[in-house]
Symmetry: C2
Subunit: 137 residues, 2 copies
């Protein structure tokens, strides 16, 4: 994989978690693919398929001040010619989930087509926990 593509994918992943943390639905809407089929598995939920169902779930989550907003830790990108996925920890009040985020290229930009997050017994490396600033800073 090219270092540039890897950086672009990690940036797209970062934009997703910033939109999540800032409860910014417009930014979240921009993260997700518009021309490709999408799906989403929130922790413990069933699978949501299609843009309407997926974005409705985000609108509901981001509008709820009690819904948790995870911080991304230790993201690792796996990049193929026109698709990629990122594995990362999601830190929620000292607890950790592990997420898979899948991206495809749409008009040259990496857009999310799938997110699944679930429990893990693993923990990020200590330096990844200490670095509060995301992978690109």
């Amino acid at each position: 994989m090219s270092p540039r593509a890897e950086q672009e994918v990690l940036f797209a992943n970062d934009v997703f978690y910033r939109a999540f943390a800032e409860r910014d639905f417009r930014a979240m809407d921009g993260v997700w693919a518009r021309e490709s089929a999408i799906a989403c598995v929130h922790p413990g939920w069933g699978a949501l398929a299609g843009r309407h169902a997926v974005m409705e779930s985000w609108a509901s989550l981001l509008a709820n001040p009690r819904s948790p907003t995870p911080a991304c830790r230790d993201p690792r990108a796996f990049v193929y010619p026109d698709a990629a996925f990122v594995i990362c920890f999601e830190e929620l009040e000292g607890n950790f989930l592990l997420a898979t985020n899948v991206f495809v290229r749409e008009k040259g930009a990496w857009r999310m087509v799938h997110h699944q997050s679930g429990p893990t017994a693993d923990r990020p490396a200590p330096e990844a926990v200490r670095d509060d600033r995301g992978p690109l800073h």
Copy 2:
């Protein structure tokens, strides 16, 4: 997406679960990509990255007669030009997990590059539970 590509991806997903159920390491080895970076998140585990770590985990799981072998239920394929993912339930002794399986094309064949499975409160549609024969029969 073309119906043929969707069928090919669902077949590759089916081969994965058959290898799992039959504890067939050679078939499992053939399911996973050889030329592309791979990763795997078994339920509750941390992420494994790289062919050596991923295949070692499968060798260990398939060699252990006490490790569970899930049946695939209600698989749904999301296919892009050179990549795809399948979301499906995994049934284990009446319990259900939800899995994401990511595939890329290698020399024309769909090969797995990532698997993540975790708990879900959802259940497959009744007809998917009743159909024991997989999606292609």
